[in-house]
């Protein structure tokens, strides 16, 4: 079954407290060399049947209105991936 992947990231100018907390934890666990962490989220929408342009458009719509908060987040990717198997 094909899936549409949607990536959502906090807007670059917006504070990301989770990313900041992770950035603070990395060196404590010995992971040095990372200057900054931004944490976003990834959605996978499975599609029954083919991913037509309409389906993809619907996914973009959902990404912009439901999956992300346009005030503080950007949708950085809406893309079809085929299962390897």
């Amino acid at each position: 079954m094909p899936r549409i992947v949607v990536d959502v990231m906090p807007k670059p100018e917006i504070l990301d407290p989770q990313g900041k907390a992770i950035a603070g934890a990395l060196p404590r666990l010995g992971f040095t060399g990372f200057a900054e962490v931004r944490q976003g989220k990834r959605f996978e929408l499975s599609v029954e049947g083919d991913v037509t342009e309409e389906v993809l458009e619907a996914a973009r719509d959902a990404a912009a209105t439901l999956l992300s908060n346009p005030v503080i987040e950007d949708v950085t990717r809406v893309e079809v991936i085929e299962d390897a198997q």
């Binding site: 100018e13 917006i14 504070l15 407290p17 900041k20 907390a21 908060n69 503080i72």
Partner: protein
């Protein structure tokens, strides 16, 4: 390429450059300044401002920061304070928050602020950072925050946009406040279509300190160092202070939407502990939280309240976003930041405490006695101003105001609607209505008992918190406002709001001591709104004087309007009371079988502006009559009865009248009562419907143990205060039985009362 961009300097607009290019156009209008205001800046400086100076003046002279429209009226809060009212006031209006002496060397600081506009744009973060901002005000006074409260007003409960706001705002408050470990002990929730495009999110915080711990926001001591600590500075809320809070929403200008401020409650928790350790170690001379207008506000206020000068190197500010321009850094409203003044000798001790709490800090400069606030960017002067002109000498407007012509018509339109004879159905309808229904669905999302000092919280009349674990010394807080009353009569509406908060605090058994207010209104440029504002301030100041409780601080939120339609005038009033021992608090619900139930006060036919009228689509007439003398007597009776153990429960009568008070007192612990209102109706010359639904003031319902009835009656008689025995607590009945009228099983009442919010939002 990277090296090139990082090393590339901004095209800095220095003071020197400004002097050389007097004709260069500046975006003062876009930053919210009016032409006369911009010309005033030019006059003060004797030249055009630099971009950085323009940023500072524009945010500091915004309505939100300068109170330019409200100042001339707010003076009454100071002018109408008597010496007697100041007796317990350690710090009055003008500092970050007022401080009140509560005895035994303890003091309390409290304040309510608005975060209305940001909460409409981004409900979760707007409400969360509203809590964060008011908590930092409390910290900066030297106090440990101990509780928060949130008076909220939303649009119509069934409007399609309301769930977005309710979910976001409620979870934002819970998410931030719960993470800080602060109990949320009360507030209000009101639904009314006038708040549809302008929800009101007011946040109150209260903190506790010892007298000697009071800290003030001033930068004294030439040579002392200025330090910024806490979170890094990013693009948050740039333009927020001047643009967002000072302009009505207009969807045609999306470009004005600033970067939303995002809160980090865990960073704030660390900041609280870190600041308290700084205070304990006495290493800071002055401290200021960063809220609206960020560094612009902190530097100019600290400098002008102290020795008058400060020298700051702006490139020392730690940035989250290195692309920010100097003007943006000055205006940024990034959360969880504080600014302090530290002597050179204490520098090491200060740094040790920062390191212990893992809080980032940067030394920005030092205090001077030059009378100038000088800000440099990499050694080049970009700001050279008298800090007083930024912080205190902003424009002051005597805005024209006029009594609306429509008001006479509205006041003449008394409630003539349905007064049904089926009182049981009417009570159920009232108690299930959006404004009278149980708010458990909301308050259950907040921690109410964290820290273990909460003695009472919602749905009781006031939130009660223990301050001293040894003696039980504690405080009570209540916030109230009735926008409908204020719409009908703004002068009386503000007085009624104070009266209700005062009564609520007294009902819990505490002695009312001080007031904070959050004045939410429409546009001051509308003379009718300005009249509502002027009348409300006059009313509140008069009532404070009459009740002997001073206003200690607060906040004004204007421009709460969408298009030409303003919200109802909504002066939210918070009253702080004190208990010798919180163990003496009076809960609102009945518990003991057989106790006598008394109604204190007189009931008149006052349905105008009531919840019943509201439910039936009517808003007209005059709000209920107010007798502050009666309020004072009632408060004295409630406080003395609580102290001397004469009453076991007390609930004030306000919105929804006796019907609501009886229903809530029964539902609080699930204990019913047999009520007889015929004698009351006869004495006050009213019918049963009026007895139950009128919103006459200065009334309360109390339950009195049989053994105390004589003493209680004697006390009321001695004060010549009307009281009627209206019934008896009946544990067996499981019903609210109003004899001769209806029997309402508590299960049925509870179901109706609790179903409303989950039905709309769960």
């Amino acid at each position: 390429m990277t090296t090139e961009t990082t090393s590339k300097k901004f095209n800095i607009d220095t003071v020197e450059h400004a002097e050389q290019t007097p004709e260069q156009p500046l975006p003062w209008a876009e930053l919210g300044l009016k032409e006369n205001e911009y010309l005033r800046v030019v006059e003060i400086l004797g030249r055009r401002p630099t971009a950085a100076e323009l940023a500072m003046y524009s945010v500091m002279w915004s309505e939100h920061c300068s109170y330019k429209s409200s100042k001339v009226h707010l003076r009454q809060f100071g002018d109408k304070v008597t010496e007697a009212m100041k007796e317990h006031l350690l710090v009055g209006i003008g500092e970050n928050a007022g401080v009140v002496d509560i005895g035994d060397g303890w003091a309390v600081t409290f304040k309510v602020e608005s975060h209305n506009h940001p909460s409409f744009v981004e409900p979760y973060q707007g409400a969360a950072t509203g809590v964060g901002g008011i908590v930092r005000d409390i910290i900066s006074m030297g106090a440990r925050p101990v509780a928060v409260m949130d008076p909220l007003r939303f649009g119509a409960i069934d409007h399609p946009d309301t769930p977005r706001l309710v979910h976001g705002i409620v979870s934002g408050i819970g998410g931030y406040g719960n993470s800080l470990g602060l109990p949320n002990i009360g507030g209000e929730v009101v639904f009314d279509s006038v708040y549809q495009g302008n929800p009101l999110v007011n946040a109150l915080a209260v903190g506790v300190l010892r007298h000697e711990d009071i800290r003030l926001a001033n930068a004294s001591g030439v040579g002392n160092r200025v330090v910024l600590f806490g979170a890094r500075t990013g693009g948050d809320g740039i333009g927020g202070a001047s643009v967002l809070a000072s302009e009505s929403f207009d969807s045609s200008k999306p470009s004005k939407r600033p970067a939303v401020q995002v809160g980090d409650p865990f960073a704030e928790k660390v900041l609280i502990e870190c600041c308290l350790e700084l205070f304990k170690a006495s290493v800071v001379e002055g401290i200021q939280d960063l809220g609206a207008a960020g560094i612009s506000c902190a530097t100019s206020e600290l400098a002008s309240n102290g020795d008058g000068g400060m020298h700051v190197e702006l490139t020392s500010v730690l940035l989250r976003d290195p692309s920010l321009t100097p003007g943006e850094i000055l205006m940024s409203e990034s959360q969880e930041r504080m600014m302090a003044v530290v002597t050179p000798e204490n520098t090491a001790a200060f740094e040790a405490i920062m390191d212990k709490w893992n809080v980032e800090y940067s030394w920005l400069g030092e205090v001077t006695d030059t009378g100038r606030l000088i800000i440099e960017w990499d050694g080049e002067k970009i700001v050279d101003v008298d800090p007083r002109t930024v912080a205190h000498d902003g424009p002051v407007y005597e805005r024209p105001y006029s009594r609306p012509e429509w008001l006479d018509g509205v006041q003449a339109d008394s409630f003539a609607g349905d007064r049904p004879s089926d009182l049981k159905t009417a009570v159920l309808e009232l108690m299930a209505s959006p404004n009278m229904c149980s708010k458990d669905w909301i308050t259950n999302q907040y921690d109410r008992y964290v820290q273990g000092n909460t003695a009472l919280a919602m749905p009781d009349d006031a939130g009660v918190v223990r301050v001293d674990e040894e003696t039980g010394l504690g405080i009570a807080l209540s916030t109230d406002a009735n926008g409908r009353y204020s719409y009908l009569n703004p002068y009386d509406g503000a007085r009624l709001a104070l009266a209700e908060a005062y009564r609520n605090v007294a009902t819990s058994g505490a002695k009312p001591m001080a007031v904070t207010d959050c004045l939410n209104f429409g546009s001051p440029e509308d003379p009718e709104v300005m009249w509502q504002f002027a009348e409300s301030v006059r009313g509140l100041a008069d009532a404070c004087q009459e009740l002997g409780v001073p206003v200690t601080g607060g906040n004004v939120s204007l421009y709460n309007q969408t298009g030409g339609v303003a919200i109802h005038p909504t002066p939210v009033v918070g009253v702080l009371g004190v208990f010798d021992d919180v163990a003496r608090r009076t809960p609102s619900g009945w518990r003991e079988d057989g106790q006598a139930i008394y109604l204190l006060g007189t009931t008149r036919d006052e349905l105008d502006g009531s919840e019943w009228a509201n439910l039936h689509g009517h808003l007209g007439g005059q709000p209920p009559a107010l007798d502050l003398g009666a309020e004072k007597t009632l408060a004295a009776i409630l406080i003395n009865s609580s102290r001397d153990g004469m009453i076991d429960a007390a609930h004030d009568l306000s919105e929804g009248g006796l019907a609501a008070a009886l229903s809530e007192a029964a539902l609080r612990f699930g204990v019913g009562a047999r009520i007889a209102i015929d004698e009351l109706c006869e004495r006050d010359g009213i019918d049963a419907f009026t007895a139950l639904f009128s919103e006459s003031q200065a009334r309360a319902v109390v339950s009195v143990p049989r053994s105390e009835e004589v003493r209680f009656n004697d006390m009321c008689a001695a004060r010549n205060f009307p009281r009627t025995r209206i019934g008896v607590v009946d544990v067996e009945s499981d019903a609210l039985d109003v004899q001769g009228h209806f029997t309402l099983p508590l299960t049925e009442l509870k179901e109706a009362h609790e179903a409303t919010l989950p039905k709309h939002f769960a």
